[in-house]
């Protein structure tokens, strides 16, 4: 077939080239089935996003034949998006997650691959990670996710400048906390900052009080689905204690309209408006970047949650996120799954990545990084976190991650009401007993 060459056909061809180029570009960016690319969705937000993306870039450079393509989402948007995508059979090859209850729902509907045989074949991969990080990746004795990134215990942060000004010492027990409250309030400083609108922020208080008063068994019973597990006497005592603290004005005025995602709660600490704050260890990095000279000028103090007198729990116990997790979608092609496993084996928590996590003020879950931690600018904090993570007899996973989404939503709802003082500890336990095991 001969095309008569004219100005018009030339123009037409010129126009067609970029269009077809664009079309092929579109085709390869979607979750293409059987293609030579694995897809990977994770969370946006610096500095963590940079480390995650950097790891993928290095992997792609080293593996020109098995590329990974990244899409990032904002935290809350991601939670909805990933669920919808998995439900619709359009999941990415590599699923970034928090383990626990949500992972269990994926497993129960056969959406993620069992990685136990792979870990058995490659024991060196398993052995270089913190053993405590595998709990939240395990469902009914099988491992469905690769723990990675960093361990994030909940820590009691305090403002040294404020403590010096008021002339008091950081609390060594629950009674100390209750005694500090009126002293700080009298100086016009809020004892505790709290982003109460986010609800999981309030939950951290209950996690510690349950553990310190009754030990890790109290929540374990809930997790195991024991009937009326929330009615444990230690639970009632913990719930009552937290309401006592609310009634004594222990939290900043207006805490239930403060959100954690805007970091307003952390700003209250480094602007000297609040004396203390219970928050995840990731808050350190945020205060470092946003708090001016607060961290560098030695204004920030940190400690593990103090014991409660007469409590059964070990004061060395901790709660929080044992790690973050990567699963492989069972809907992915064999080729994509292979790329994902290669990435897990050679691209995750490499020496470069470990260094980058430490730079962001996080403790990566790879064993033997003590030396790197000690060399870091934030060595004092990082060694403190490493100490908690490696010495805690029990490291409880955040409740809303550990429980199923159904139970977690009821939990968060009732926690908000508990802190509002609109329900009693007794009503709280009754409402939650109803969703045990759901």
């Amino acid at each position: 077939m001969e095309i008569p060459l004219s100005r018009r056909t030339l123009l037409g061809m010129a126009a067609a080239v970029p269009v077809s180029a664009a079309l092929t570009a579109c085709g390869s960016s979607g979750p293409s089935k059987g293609g030579g690319k694995a897809t990977y969705w994770h969370l946006s937000g610096m500095p963590q996003e940079g480390v995650r993306t950097g790891a993928v870039e290095r992997f792609n450079e080293a593996n020109p034949k098995g590329q990974i393509e990244v899409t990032t989402f904002e935290n809350d948007a991601y939670k909805t998006k990933i669920k919808t995508a998995i439900g619709a059979g359009k999941a990415p090859t590599i699923i970034w997650g928090w383990g626990g209850g949500t992972l269990r729902t994926y497993v129960e509907s056969d959406q993620v691959d069992d990685l136990t045989p792979w870990f058995d074949e490659n024991p060196e991969i398993k052995n270089r990670l913190f053993p405590s990080s595998f709990g939240a990746a395990t469902v009914d004795g099988k491992i469905y996710a690769m723990p990675f990134e960093s361990v994030e215990p909940i820590v009691l942060f305090y403002n040294k400048r404020v403590f010096d000004d008021v002339g008091v010492e950081p609390p060594q027990s629950w009674d100390d906390i209750m005694a500090l409250v009126p002293k700080l309030n009298a100086e016009g400083i809020a004892p505790f900052s709290l982003g109460g609108q986010s609800r999981w922020t309030n939950m951290m208080w209950l996690e510690f009080l349950f553990d310190r008063i009754g030990g890790p068994e109290v929540f374990q019973a809930v997790f195991d689905g024991e009937k009326n597990a929330w009615s444990h006497p230690a639970a009632i005592e913990a719930l009552t204690k937290v309401q006592d603290l609310v009634k004594a004005d222990g939290f900043i005025k207006g805490f239930s309209s403060i959100t954690a995602d805007s970091n307003a709660d952390q700003a209250l600490l480094y602007t000297d408006k609040a004396a203390m704050m219970l928050h995840g260890s990731w808050s350190y990095g945020i205060q470092q970047t946003e708090g001016g000279d607060f961290v560098s000028g030695d204004g920030l103090g940190f400690m593990n949650f103090p014991p409660v007198d007469g409590g059964k729990g070990d004061p060395g116990n901790s709660v929080g996120n044992p790690a973050q997790y990567l699963s492989i979608s069972s809907k992915a092609s064999a080729e994509q799954k292979k790329i994902a496993k290669d990435f897990f084996a050679t691209g995750v928590l490499t020496d470069d990545e470990v260094k980058e996590w430490i730079e962001t003020g996080a403790v990566p879950i790879r064993k033997g990084s003590e030396k790197l931690l000690a060399e870091s600018e934030s060595s004092e904090f990082l060694e403190f976190v490493y100490g908690i993570a490696s010495n805690a007899k029990s490291f409880g996973q955040s409740w809303d991650q550990a429980l199923s989404p159904t139970a977690a939503e009821t939990l968060l709802d009732n926690i908000a009401k508990l802190f509002q003082l609109s329900i009693s500890p007794r009503q709280f336990t009754e409402n939650l007993n109803k969703v045990i095991g759901k």
Binding site: Q197, S256, P405, T406, E409
Partner: protein, 300 residues
């Protein structure tokens, strides 16, 4: 195409006109009827949004209807609807009547009043949340004790904020409707009233307001039905809090469906919302009288 252009006779038009509605009808079926049926079916199932869908009869309906949260969410929804209607309607009528004048500065003003409508609800909610922050917001910035209240942390204050922000966003739109309504009123009525010695206030109550009857019904229908779907604004502003003080039905549906993985009960609530919307729309049509569909200008 040729049939349309060549046949100008009555017969030909009658033949072609119904076919012109087909694309719109297809869209309506595809994007409204099919999902609606889907939601109805889902409300009789158990589904966590990921796994397989199990038919479960009336379980979801029973769970929703016996949940003490439902009467509360219904009450909050109704309250938001009623209070925001009561705030918006007088404000919009007065503003619309004022803007209907023919002076140039009013045209400029009406453009400025229109701005809130152009912003997305989420952006408005984020902005108000920042302004109302008790520690870093407007109150703290101006050093005003009165302004630095715990706006979103006390149930009634939070409810008031929701109504205020909703009104701030939608009064411009309804003013525009009323502005158009007022401009439709024949000038001769006002001239006659002036000859009879009626003042401005008398004119407003005796001519403008009665003549706006159908505009009021249209605007109220939009307001009331629209308030059933308030979700984005409340979600970003208060997340239904404090506690569940501003947890309207649409938000309840989202939380059950997408946060608690209970698609069945969430679908049941969606069905309830659809039924409420239909009932209210029919009720408002009735209130308008039998002639509501007819032109208000006839015989004027």
């Amino acid at each position: 195409m040729s049939a349309l252009t060549s046949s100008t006779g009555r017969e030909g038009r009658r033949g072609i006109l119904p076919w012109l509605a087909v694309p719109a009808l297809l869209f309506f079926v595809g994007f409204a009827v099919v999902p609606l049926v889907g939601v109805f079916v889902l409300s009789f199932t158990t589904w966590d949004g990921i796994g397989t869908i199990h038919p479960s009869g009336l379980t979801s309906w029973r769970a929703v209807l016996t949940d003490p949260g439902l009467p509360h969410a219904l009450w909050v929804t109704f309250l938001v609807m009623a209070v925001s209607w009561a705030v918006q309607t007088p404000a919009s009528i007065l503003l619309g009547t004022f803007l209907a004048g023919r002076q140039r500065y009013r045209a400029v003003l009406s453009l400025i009043y229109f701005v809130p409508l152009l912003l997305s609800s989420a952006a408005i909610a984020v902005a108000y949340r920042a302004l109302l922050d008790p520690n870093f917001g407007l109150g703290a910035g101006l050093g005003s004790e009165w302004l630095s209240k715990d706006w979103l942390g006390r149930p009634w204050l939070a409810f008031g904020v929701v109504v205020f922000v909703v009104s701030w966003q939608f009064v411009p739109f309804h003013s525009l409707i009323y502005q158009g309504g007022v401009q439709q009123i024949p000038h001769s009525l006002y001239e006659a009233a002036q000859l009879d010695g009626a003042g401005r206030i008398r004119q407003f109550f005796s001519i403008t307001l009665p003549q706006l009857k159908y505009t009021i019904i249209t605007s109220s229908t939009l307001m009331v039905i629209g308030s059933l779907t308030f979700f984005d604004l409340i979600f970003v502003l208060t997340e239904g809090g404090p506690g569940d003080a501003t947890r309207v039905l649409a938000l309840d549906m989202y939380k059950r469906g997408f946060q608690a993985d209970l698609m069945g009960p969430a679908s049941a609530i969606a069905v309830i919302l659809v039924l409420m919307g239909l009932a209210i729309a029919l009720l408002l049509r009735r209130l308008g009288g039998r002639d509501a569909g007819e032109s208000q200008l006839e015989g004027a």
